[in-house]
Symmetry: C2
Subunit: 425 residues, 2 copies
């Protein structure tokens, strides 16, 4: 790769990037929580049009999606949630790439915990603030900025670049699934989720479970006449802790060796009882189980159900009154690409050229739409972007402008190597 | 005691009791849940008037009650919750007695779990059904029937009989406290709560606690970056189980020896988390701790707070982030009367004469307003009545008509022995 080219791209982004930040701020100011993405998507489509891309805006078809085996969502309509794709056609003969980002953001939570309006898009101390700044309107911005820099410098690529702004990533990926079903394919996919500038070549999937634990009600003064569903729930949680250890003990994927627990089981919800002096006759446990890159949804369901069955055999009450396991809500597929895959190489090279150091290459503790690209689209996928998940779903979410620009530069360099440049300038 | 007198009372009740049951049914048909007792109390006052008693109906004064050290209630007004007292004056020279019952009932819960309308007062298979039938409109009915039988047979007592129908027993006793503050006193008190025809000479009190357990939120995929409040709550519950054992190991009151756990700690509520894939940063535990007859509210608070403090010292997180204990909601005082007290003797004798067998005399696993009579009123108190708490707070609550009549007979016999009969017939 020509280092002069990289330098010109870097200079252009350093010079023009700041004036583009108003676009990111306006994007954050559109509160594109689930079901409310249309405003932000209109801005994206307008931007794509200005960039001369071939723009495609459509509403995912809930009926068609519902028939797909990997669709898991409570939504029955996407009438207010359009996808937007902009294609920058290559001159031919090069490899194509999808740059995929999701426009949906998680709810802002309690506004009083924010220093400012959660949807301010306020810029201070070299950071852009607001819900979605890190996860992942910042990443979408960087991808756009990468293409803009190439266009501004009259660099034409051989392969197509397909910019995607999809809905529903936070709820299981219906937006990306719809884009795949609409026929969008490419030789590779890069998702600029907030990896804190690390390169994720592997990701764990996840599934949500709900366990309903039965008990028998009684007056608290004679609590031994009942069966306390809280105690039985605690016994089950102890089982899940054991299962987590068992699963992680056999997890030998080197990309996950730096994680304290590579594929955690998180118990996120425990609800039981309404009255202090009654024995609760029902407890509900909800959680998330990580799905290793070598695993499938089915294999994880099976392992956990069989474990819980065996675990309950050791408790006389639960043996006779087995808890019910439901797999509910959204679910995400795991994904992995070989470390020596050319997509990895292109991204690692781009990173080195731009930033003059080696990137961290590892597995991700959470899932993105990469699982859908890998398994449904058969498209090798990789995740790299500005921002960090440490801030992503919390108050005062923000992203560093430095990272936004660096990520854009790395992506531009990657596009050059992956798609090829059509003619020397 | 003249056994002919007992026989006449028994015969009268057997003969006329059934026609009185319509009164109990109509009482049950008044859904006298907290704040809605006025209708049922009007029926009681009407009945007392018909019986020739001196009737006193009043609304407890929330402002005066609030100043009393044993008042624990969330209510700031009792404008819809009158107390009713009816005094049957004795001829003089005898000991007086209060027959105290509460008119308030616990909510009916989910009506679909009832075979019939929860407030039907339906009579079938020798039982009266409906919320409050057992706890304790049945007991009030028996007390009234006892006095009615004496009146019908022209038996005049020397001591006064003070029939009380109070509100708020289910929520901590504000009704009885108000009756005490109004000046009602007697030489003894009998409360016909549903003891399943056993005689409770002792009762445990109880208090409600709430423990707020802190944690640190994190994404479930990197759950080890947070502190799961559910796990910390489980650790605390294990502590409470240990404390319960410790407290009961030293409980040597023979009246409680037949209870599996004489003074239980019941964990009735455990709530934490809202999202399966987040680490919950807050858990709430609510429960009830039994207060032994030898204990005070203060001593129990102190023991539990000190225990929880010590227990948390063994957990590095909780040591630095101590959980907060609140004592909230209603609370009940323990109570005890000597087994050889003359009130006990009168009731045991009455039971033997009427039913021809020895009663079971023991401690109660739950509290009644007897604690208030004992500690605030300095009135020796005893609990005995028809119905059972196994059914009391549950769907399809009911009471056996046989027990209603037997309890009335035993109470009438007790009144004769305790209050004395003014002249032979």
């Amino acid at each position: 790769m020509e280092s002069t080219l990289i330098k010109r791209i870097s200079s252009w982004i350093d010079e023009h990037g700041s004036s583009e930040l108003t676009f990111l701020a306006s994007l954050i100011q559109e509160p594109s929580v689930q079901g409310n993405e249309a405003g932000a998507q209109k801005s994206i489509a307008k931007k794509f049009t200005e960039m001369g891309l071939t723009v495609d805006t459509w509403y995912p078809d809930a009926e068609i999606l519902a028939k797909h085996p990997v669709f898991h969502s409570n939504r029955t309509s996407f009438d207010s949630s359009p996808n937007v794709v902009g294609v920058w056609q290559g001159t031919g003969g090069g490899r194509s790439i999808i740059l995929n980002g999701h426009i949906d953001v998680v709810p802002e939570g309690d506004p009083s915990q924010w220093s400012d309006d959660p949807f301010s898009g306020y810029i201070v101390d070299g950071r852009v603030f607001g819900r979605g700044s890190s996860d992942m309107k910042g990443g979408i911005f960087s991808a756009i900025l990468a293409v803009r820099s190439l266009q501004a410098l009259n660099i034409r690529l051989r392969g197509d670049v397909i910019l995607q702004s999809v809905v529903e990533e936070e709820s299981g990926g219906a937006g990306t699934l719809s884009a795949l079903l609409r026929g969008y394919r490419a030789d590779a996919c890069l998702i600029p989720e907030p990896t804190d500038m690390r390169i994720f070549v592997s990701q764990q999937g996840s599934m949500w479970f709900r366990i309903r634990v039965p008990g028998v009600s009684a007056h608290g003064g004679t609590r031994y006449e009942g069966v306390n569903a809280i105690e039985k729930g605690m016994y089950l949680i102890q089982g899940l802790q054991f299962l987590e250890k068992q699963r992680n003990d056999r997890m030998d994927n080197p990309l996950y060796r730096h994680f304290q627990i590579p594929i955690p089981i998180n118990v996120g919800v425990f609800h039981a009882g309404k009255w202090p002096s009654s024995v609760p006759d029902h407890a509900v446990i909800e959680g998330r189980i990580g799905v290793g890159p070598h695993e499938t949804w089915d294999s994880v369901c099976q392992e956990m159900e069989s474990f819980v069955h065996d675990w309950t055999q050791r408790d006389p009450w639960l043996r006779e009154h087995p808890p019910a396991i439901e797999w509910f809500g959204a679910r995400w597929m795991p994904s992995e690409i070989d470390v020596s895959h050319e997509l990895t190489t292109s991204l690692v090279n781009g990173f080195r050229h731009v930033l003059g150091r080696d990137p961290i290459v590892e597995g991700a503790p959470w899932a993105t739409d990469a699982g859908l690209f890998t398994h449904v689209g058969k498209i090798p996928s990789i995740v790299f972007g500005p921002g960090t998940t440490r801030l992503a779903h919390y108050p005062n979410e923000s992203v560093a402008i430095r990272d936004l620009f660096d990520a854009a530069k790395v992506m531009a360099a990657t596009l050059i190597e992956w798609c090829g440049v059509s003619s020397p300038r």
